[in-house]
Amino acid sequence: MLLHLLNRSPASSLVHRDTLRAMGEEDRLLLIEDGVYGALMPLADRFEAIHGRLFALREDLASRGLDGRCDARVTVVDMEGFVTLTEESERTVSWF
């Protein structure tokens, strides 16, 4: 199982399409930096295919004033949770 990191907003970049295409059935996706915009509606719909395997970084949501505005399908994790996700995944792939 791989952890994918995405730091681009789906509103300004199409790299999330490549990310989703590359993801295996068990793989997880963590939205960081500007990627966290993808955790809000309507952009969160783009990640419907990986329901239950989508995470967003709390610190990056908070620094953009988006804390508490995430779609319910997204699991919000803090920095410690980010580390935990890397522990649980064999490898990490960054998309940018």
């Binding site: 990191l5 990056d60 522990e87 960054s94 940018f96």
Partner: protein
């Protein structure tokens, strides 16, 4: 676990260095070891010894240095990416006939082979890009 980070974003231009430093603190707090940080592409600017940010802003170069002091983290800088951007240690500056130098220990100029090595020898390699 033994962690390595790859930093490819320039300081104060992109969030990559900030994200990597916060991740570094978090992994150490969880009891892991940060053994290596590799700076590549514009990430090599993180190693500039002359960086002088305003006093009320985070000093990213010092933050990397602190990791080296606390954890013995190796701070490796890709030599090919560094030289063409004007980041030279004393030895390289002399070799290229330049006055002054812009990179010093604990940062080390190394080949990209060291990055491949980090990917093989560490348990985890996490990339922070611009």
């Amino acid at each position: 676990m033994r962690y390595a980070l790859l930093v490819q974003g320039a300081p104060y231009s992109h969030q990559a260095a900030h994200s990597a430093l916060r991740f570094a603190d978090a992994l150490i707090a969880r009891g892991h070891r940060l053994e290596t940080v590799f700076f590549y592409h514009d990430g090599v600017y993180n190693a500039s010894r002359l960086a002088s940010p305003p006093q009320d802003e985070p000093h990213l170069v010092d933050a990397w240095r602190r990791l080296n002091e606390q954890q013995g983290t190796a701070l490796l800088v890709c030599v090919a990416a560094a030289l063409r951007r004007g980041l030279l240690d004393e030895r390289e500056a002399k070799r290229h006939g330049k006055q002054g130098y812009s990179l010093e220990a604990p940062f080390e100029l190394t080949g990209v082979g060291q990055l491949v090595d980090a990917g093989i020898t560490h348990d985890r390699l996490i990339t922070f890009s611009p």
